[in-house]
Amino acid sequence: MNLIFELGILFLICMAGEGIATLLPIMIPASVISLILLLILLLSGVLKERQIRQSAVFLTENMGILFIPAAVGTLEYLDVLKAQAIPFLLITVVSTPIVYFITAWSVQLLMKLFNRKKVQHHV
């Protein structure tokens, strides 16, 4: 597919996402709504994978560079960061293994539960 056309479709979906975001009673980022919208379009077959593949792969593979403006923006809050450096780092670093542990164990238990159910069904 033509890359220009693909980007046009993607921008159109994002535009719709921005509109829907203002209608929802709870606050969900427009980009997430666009993600869900695109997923629905793909799953329902309205949009084919090849109609957005090139642009989607390009954007997701080079996603990292899109975070630079936000990260450089920290410069503006350097004094906030300096004042709160210790809680900031502590919270960020300490919560990671806790979240991993809780998630991994929950899924591991769920997998055992669901597999057992499946076996019972077969019997």
Binding site: A30, P69, L75
Partner: protein, 228 residues
């Protein structure tokens, strides 16, 4: 002349693109996760702005063009879920429930630690979405009144930490199920972790890339209720 050049959007664009290219090459050469290209590029750009006394607003003239693509890039993640739909269907409930638990765990953990350390509200709002992919985390923080720069920094630190320690965590916590391992990596350390999960195994990589999308969606819906 210097001012005219740095005031044009091309300054921010050229600086970001070239530093990014250098950082990606640097990581490939060293092979170290700690030299995350986002981290290295940000440090490079900040250093250049500080050394040459260039105000952030001038950089932003060009950077805003790059930032604008974050929305379409987030939407494009839908393709990741779509491509993994067969495996998602196979493990639907463990994925959805696991991601719900993971998202809640991350948010509650940040809230609890913020209370213990008596951190202020702005810091809390900035850190709430720390476990989800930067694109979604930044828009969540902007919506809840956090500082998106702090959020981006926390997300990247979390991602690098999770990616480096993922094999250690699996051993330490006795995680033997590849589905559980993949979801936990994706739920904890989003896209950076997913690249590591792909090295660990194909199933882990697939689960991790699904989890990062699903957790992003769940967190964006529930984070607002936990912000102050």
């Amino acid at each position: 002349m210097f001012e005219a050049m740095t005031s044009s959007p091309f300054f921010g664009l050229a600086l970001t693109l070239i530093c990014w290219w250098l950082a990606v090459r640097f990581q490939k050469k060293t092979g170290q996760l700690i030299f995350n290209p986002v981290l290295v590029t940000s440090v490079l750009v900040i250093a250049i702005l500080l050394i040459f006394h260039i105000p952030l607003e001038r950089y932003n003239t060009g950077a805003d063009v790059i930032k604008m693509l974050l929305g379409p890039a987030t939407a494009a993640l839908a393709l990741n879920i779509y491509r993994q739909r067969a495996i998602l269907k196979q493990h639907f409930w463990p994925v959805v429930l696991g991601c719900l638990v993971g998202s809640l765990a991350s948010i509650l953990c940040v809230r609890l630690l913020c209370r213990v350390l008596q951190a202020d509200g702005v810091l809390l709002n900035s850190l709430l979405p720390k476990s989800v992919t930067t694109a979604i985390a930044v828009s969540i923080a902007e919506g809840t009144g956090g500082l998106s720069g702090l959020t981006a920094a926390a997300v990247i630190i979390t991602g690098v930490e999770g990616a480096i320690l993922a094999p250690v965590f699996a051993k330490l916590f006795h995680i033997t199920d590849p589905v559980a391992e993949g979801i936990a990596i994706g739920a904890t350390s989003h896209a950076v972790g997913t690249s590591k999960a792909m090295e660990i195994g194909e199933l882990q990589g697939a689960m991790s890339s699904i989890a990062l999308c699903v957790c992003g969606i769940i967190t964006s819906v529930i984070a607002g209720f936990f912000a102050v």
